[in-house]
């Protein structure tokens, strides 16, 4: 029983990481229908921000708390800059954006290599987050890692904050309007260009927050973004473009699936099986779990 619960928790924690990574991507993908391959490098920027802050702030707990908002702003600014420089010129050609932002991601990776060196670096986790919580004691104990619980809480907080922003604020209303019908939003007096940039800022900022979270579970390196970005894309494809609830459900389901398959086979076989499951799922719902209803033929 504890084995199953332990696996389940591993799955949920993989899902939480996936969700944090996919959340911002889902926003920018839904907003402009462009695929931002540099999203992984914005995650990396968030992680390196944590690393740099830890150099100047001695308390690990304090530096983590400071890193969350700072990483949000740093990555968000990078995203807004990218949107202003390149993406807004391209949003009628979504496939080209994919490759252009891949070029950007290559350059950002090399920049990180030039600044911080090619080897991975590490940050210290705050003492509170290094231990485990014992849920069931005894001979066959069930323990949850505190860092994983923190990431889970962070993911939930990010989802709540984002969905409240989208539902309740004027900005959120404008974003939803542009996602649903860009032309109609434009003629209704919404400055779609400004909404695009703001959405990009928020989405990229969330990548920065994900980067801070990733410092708790793994090393920080120039290629850390590439390793996670594909899984995040798959979450969005399966969840449905621009659909928050789709991303949430799919992130946890894929996390659980990955964890169960890894347990019963090997890591590499699990990856292949997850992909097969995704292709099979798309046979059933080609547009993802949730779709935005439109009258478009495509």
């Amino acid at each position: 029983m504890t084995v199953i619960l332990g696996q389940l928790f591993t799955g949920v924690s993989i899902g939480a990481v996936l969700l944090l990574i996919a959340l911002g991507l889902s926003l920018t993908f839904g907003q402009m229908n462009v695929i931002n391959m540099a999203h992984g490098e914005f995650i990396m920027a968030g992680a390196y921000t944590t690393y740099v802050l830890q150099k100047s702030i001695s308390s690990a707990g304090m530096s983590l708390l400071v890193a969350l908002p700072v990483a949000f702003v740093v990555s968000g600014a990078l995203g807004a800059l990218l949107e202003w420089l390149l993406i807004r010129r391209l949003y009628l050609r979504p496939l080209d954006t994919l490759l252009v932002t891949w070029g950007v991601s290559l350059m950002l990776q090399q920049l990180a290599r030039d600044i911080f060196g090619a080897p991975n670096v590490q940050t210290r986790a705050p003492d509170v987050l290094t231990g485990n919580i014992t849920v069931v004691g005894g001979d066959d104990p069930l323990t949850f890692a505190n860092s994983r619980l923190f990431i889970l809480a962070l993911a939930v907080a990010a989802v709540v904050a984002l969905s409240l922003t989208l539902r309740l604020t004027p900005l959120g209303r404008r974003i939803r309007a542009v996602v649903q019908n860009r032309d109609l939003a434009e003629v209704s007096g919404i400055s779609t260009a400004r909404v695009d940039r703001t959405a990009f800022f928020i989405g990229s900022g969330l990548a920065g927050v994900a980067g801070v979270a990733l410092t708790l579970v793994g090393p920080i390196g120039p290629t850390m973004g590439t390793n996670v970005i594909i899984d995040a894309f798959l979450v969005i494809v399966v969840g449905g473009i621009g659909q928050l609830r789709g991303s949430v459900i799919v992130a946890f389901v894929l996390g659980a699936l990955q964890s169960v398959l890894e347990y019963s086979t090997t890591v590499s076989v699990a990856k292949v099986l997850v992909l097969v499951a995704i292709v099979a799922f798309l046979q059933w719902r080609p547009q993802g779990l949730y779709t935005l209803r439109t009258r478009s033929l495509v």
Binding site: R89, T266, P286
Partner: protein, 371 residues
């Protein structure tokens, strides 16, 4: 959602002589290419440089397929490395078995495992006919199965690109994971013989180059025939307006599937010929990064133009070798810039440069031209 470039306004009918010249141009270009590949390059280049060129020509074969699938069909496949790898591994498995001789195991299997005999799925590759057929048919079969699942359900655009990319990632991870039977991260290395010929001998290396050059020319000719057929027209129509093609009674899924499968077969053949030219196939050559690098060559040269795609692939592969040896960091920045400039500002690649310049001039002449 590809933007179509409107034709420049016709000013005058070309004289008959010029029209005839235009009709002969592809044949002439083909002859020049053959002359350069078979006479010019072997005379001008050292054995080492010729070996490098053989490697670049293999990436050009993949680019021919990418031109077909992406340039004409609008299918951005970021997973050509998978098909390249399938072809490469099929060939390398046969050559490893042949090198080891009957009854012996390939060297890496003796090193890693307690395996005393070949795994069952290696055994058919001992047969040279099966192995050579598999280098092309295996990638095509995988593409056909995957493509029919994806295209029938109208998964397209970004979804397709991401799935093809995920496929490349999963394939590379799987290869690394199966160390005892695939050689893991190292891949299949140290291949010495090629159907009885010793690959260390420069004469035989030259032969491999000639085979590669011939196959490339053959693939270009094949692609050209395909693109100039009714099917080629249909492929472009599907790219530009899939729904209209559907309303006309065609099934766009089949049209796309053919382009995807043919491109996969070309990539498989390229992988198979890459193995004797370079002597190695490994997961590092089939994952996401090499798959995208294959695309960028075609994009820089001009994705929709066969000549552009092929020359672009050769040029980018050459630039990578030339620049990354001298300035490893500089090359990465340069490569990133290439992506950005080629795709954001010159989507037709270098092949469209003349047309863009011409249109720019025409635009200045005719005020109000929105192209």
């Amino acid at each position: 959602m590809t933007t179509t470039t409107p034709l420049p306004p016709k000013t005058e009918r070309p004289p008959a002589v010029r029209r005839r010249f235009a009709a002969a141009r592809p044949a002439a270009g083909f002859a020049v290419a053959a002359l350069v590949l078979f006479a010019g390059a072997p005379l001008a280049l050292s054995d080492f440089r010729l070996g490098l060129l053989a490697k670049y020509l293999c990436t050009a074969m993949v680019a021919v397929g990418i031109c077909l699938a992406w340039g004409r069909g609008g299918l951005l496949t970021l997973g050509q490395g998978v098909f390249f790898g399938l072809g490469g591994y099929a060939m390398a498995m046969h050559l490893k078995i042949a090198d080891a001789g009957p009854g012996n195991l390939p060297d890496f299997m003796q090193l890693y495992g307690s395996a005393t005999e070949l795994p069952w799925w290696w055994r058919p590759f001992a047969n040279p006919v099966f192995a050579v057929a598999a280098t092309v048919l295996l990638p095509m079969a995988v593409a056909a199965i995957l493509g029919s699942f994806i295209f029938r359900r109208r998964v397209k655009g970004a979804y397709f690109a991401i799935l093809s990319q995920a496929l490349a990632a999963a394939f590379a991870i799987w290869l690394v994971g199966q160390q005892a039977t695939t050689g893991g991260t190292n891949g299949l290395t140290d291949i010495q013989g090629f159907f009885g010929y010793d690959l260390d001998d420069p004469v035989n290396q030259r032969m491999v180059y000639f085979v590669i050059a011939a196959v490339l020319l053959l693939l270009i000719a094949l692609a050209r025939q395909l693109l100039h057929s009714r099917y080629g027209e249909l492929l472009v129509a599907v790219r530009d307006s899939e729904e209209r093609v559907r309303f006309l009674g065609y099934d766009p899924a089949n049209v796309k599937l053919v382009a995807y499968v043919v491109a996969a077969g070309m990539a498989g053949l390229a992988g198979a010929l890459f193995v004797p030219a370079v002597g190695i196939i490994s997961p590092a050559l089939v994952g996401i990064v090499p798959s995208i690098e294959l695309v960028i060559g075609a994009a820089v040269g001009g994705r929709a133009s066969l000549t552009g795609a092929v020359l672009g692939a050769i040029g980018v592969a050459w630039a990578k070798t030339a620049l990354s040896e001298e300035f490893p960091a500089g090359w990465t920045y340069f490569q990133g810039l290439l992506f950005i400039v080629a795709l954001a500002f010159l989507p037709g690649g270098l092949a469209s440069l003349a047309a863009v310049v011409k249109r720019g001039r025409a635009g200045r002449r005719l005020a109000g031209d929105t192209a």
